[in-house]
């Protein structure tokens, strides 16, 4: 095992896949000469050249659209959308094309595209640059949506995403690039659509992913001091959503808190809670709780922004309510 940051893990996955397969290439804003606005592709332009690390105009519709077309024609594009807020400008390509080109034409096409993008608030970027609308993309059949919360999963899931013949939305979190963790030194893959228990416990089930996973693990540490053993289940993929480990855990703990950075209404928590009630209603010893963002556009002011975002104490409090 090697310890590395999320940034290094993502970068390694891209590098390895580009070395392995000539049809893999990167396109997006500032991915080349600049080296990526989050420095994920630093050094790629010099090594792989301008044809495989393509700087694009600031035009999200044609970034995803041309990547879709290139994928239909046999390449394996990794299209980078600088932040998920800008993916809204490419919504038609993602929703009406990436997700549908295969089924709508009776299976004639494959669209092996990866859309790498960055979600999340907490950096004082104001309301339009701080959203966490991951769930929006998970609504559409035909897409796969993954959002890793550890360096190990970041690397293993990205390699799986690049090799997948299906379109994958790969969502990174803006504040996790420096997060460190153990990553295997040999080649490995993490499967898309498989949830994972990141910490074992018997008293309560915490369900989350991405940044929420890190917050949940910190909350679990605090709860452990009070002899409350939280099990933390990491969804890792939002579509397909693997409820197996969540249901299994809930049947043991009979209590559940779902943590997400996006807004509560119509969110991941609503989906997971609903499925738990459908699949394991008799096991519930308390109402399932949700910890999520306050229902406001995120403000610039640091204190206000932090008030709106879910915090570790919010998770601890929610757990105490269900115990």
């Amino acid at each position: 095992m090697a310890e590395m940051t999320m940034r290094e893990a993502i970068s390694q996955a891209l590098w390895e896949e580009m070395e392995r397969d000539e049809s893999v290439f990167i396109m997006g804003e500032e991915v080349g000469v600049w080296g990526g606005t989050y420095a994920v592709t630093r050094g790629f332009y010099d090594h792989f050249g301008a044809d495989r690390v393509r700087d694009t105009p600031i035009a999200e519709g044609v970034i995803v659209g041309a990547a879709n077309g290139a994928a239909m024609a046999g390449l394996r594009p990794v299209a980078e959308i600088m932040t998920i807020n800008f993916a809204l400008l490419a919504m038609d390509q993602i929703v009406n094309h990436s997700a549908k080109l295969r089924s709508m034409f009776g299976g004639q096409f494959i669209v092996p595209i990866v859309i790498r993008t960055v979600s999340g608030g907490g950096r004082q970027l104001g309301a339009t640059h701080s959203q966490t609308p991951d769930v929006v993309f998970a609504h559409f059949p035909g897409l796969k949506v993954v959002a890793p919360g550890t360096p190990r999963d970041a690397k293993g899931l990205l390699k799986s995403a690049i090799r997948s013949d299906d379109p994958v939305m790969y969502i990174e979190h803006a504040t996790l690039y420096q997060a460190r963790g153990e990553v295997p030194e040999e080649e490995y893959f993490e499967p898309i659509g498989v949830s994972k228990v990141q910490r074992e416990g018997d008293d309560v089930t915490l369900v989350s992913y991405s940044k929420g996973l890190q917050l949940s693990l910190q909350a679990a540490d605090i709860l452990a001091k009070d002899n409350v053993n939280a099990e933390v289940v990491d969804l890792r993929s939002l579509r397909p959503l693997d409820m197996g480990p969540v249901v299994e855990s809930f049947k043991r703990t009979n209590r559940c808190v779902i943590v997400e950075e996006g807004w509560r209404s119509f969110g991941i928590g609503a989906e997971v809670a609903s499925r738990l009630y459908e699949e394991a209603f008799d096991y519930a010893d308390a109402p399932i709780k949700r910890v999520a963002q306050k229902e406001v556009p995120l403000p610039y002011n640091r204190e206000l922004e932090q008030m709106a975002l879910p915090q570790v104490p919010d998770i601890v409090d929610a757990v105490k309510e269900v115990l």
Partner: protein
């Protein structure tokens, strides 16, 4: 073009016309659902453009796609079956009128969101360029698509990246019911290419030979690795789609354009140039009628997709 090729092209244009007329009939009988956009009046555009392509050239178009599918070589029975939603259709009954495609014919669809297939075309051309292929991508779209951002993003990218795309604007003078001069800041669509330093031309879309010649010239340029915008002036004789009340234009205007029927123009050309006789052309029309009848029979007797098809082909790797 030799005599045989001319007769084939004539056959193709008549087939498109008759297939569209038949589709309108089947739509009125409730056998075709959804939207139905007919190509009647525009046959010379698709046929002229596609006749100029080499087998390796990709073709992609918008939702008025039945004619383009035929020109690309799709059998009328396969088109009909898709219109009727049958499992034997090119998209197995999941696409319908607006989503015809056949990868084996290098025909990449039928796309129903206005302008959205222009970026797809750019991407396909990028793939060909990356692999050193000599293929060009021919992307057809309507005048209405030139007012949406996609058009500008895609033309710009194709020029910046030197992509082998032939952009073909089928200017039929109305975006749904809105005339070009009410929606576009410039009346001649080809002028928009100037903003991207892109060579361009305008051709008479009612004359298949002129369209073909313009397409050949344009493709010669594109093959050197530089995109080109060809505007083809045409007219649709029917409404935007079935059920269009056509309040936006006078019947005299439709009548005037109908006199420039592209099939009639081509027929007169073939006779004047002594390429074909009236008798030979009538014989082609008879052949079309027989083939079309068989196509309808094939489609009507084909099965609907089975229930299990509902979940098929959503993903490559089943989840």
């Amino acid at each position: 073009m030799d005599k045989k090729a001319h007769l084939q092209l004539y056959h193709e244009m008549v087939m498109i016309r008759r297939l569209e007329e038949k589709s309108a009939e089947l739509y009125q009988q409730g056998k075709i659902g959804g939207f139905l956009h007919l190509y009647i009046g525009q046959e010379a555009v698709g046929s002229g453009i596609v006749s100029a392509r080499k087998p390796q050239d990709r073709v992609i178009t918008a939702y008025r796609d039945h004619g383009i599918a035929i020109s690309c070589g799709m059998e009328p029975k396969i088109v009909m079956a898709e219109l009727l939603g049958k499992v034997t259709g090119c998209s197995k009954g999941k696409g319908g009128s607006m989503h015809l495609a056949d990868v084996n014919l290098n025909f990449w669809g039928g796309h129903a969101i206005v302008g959205a297939h222009l970026p797809l075309a750019a991407g396909m051309a990028l793939a060909d360029k990356q692999r050193g292929s000599e293929a060009a991508t021919i992307c057809l779209f309507g005048d209405g698509a030139t007012n949406i951002g996609y058009f500008h993003e895609a033309l710009n990218l194709s020029k910046v990246w030197q992509l082998p795309v032939l952009w073909v604007c089928e200017n039929n003078q109305y975006g749904m019911g809105t005339a070009v001069d009410r929606a576009s800041a410039v009346g001649e669509i080809r002028q928009k290419a100037e903003g991207y330093n892109m060579p361009n031309a305008r051709a008479d879309g009612m004359d298949v030979m002129q369209v073909r010649e313009a397409a050949q010239e344009a493709l010669d340029h594109v093959r050197q690795g530089d995109p080109y915008l060809l505007e083809v002036l045409t007219y649709r004789f029917r409404g935007h789609s079935m059920g269009d009340p056509e309040r936006y234009r006078e019947s005299e205007e439709v009548l005037k354009w109908s006199e420039d029927d592209p099939i009639g123009i081509y027929r007169r050309y073939l006779i004047k140039k002594k390429i074909a006789t009236d008798k030979a052309l009538d014989a082609e029309e008879e052949k079309v009628n027989d083939e079309l009848q068989q196509a309808v029979q094939f489609a009507e007797s084909s099965a609907d997709p089975p229930p299990e098809a509902l979940y098929e082909n959503i993903y490559v790797e089943e989840v």
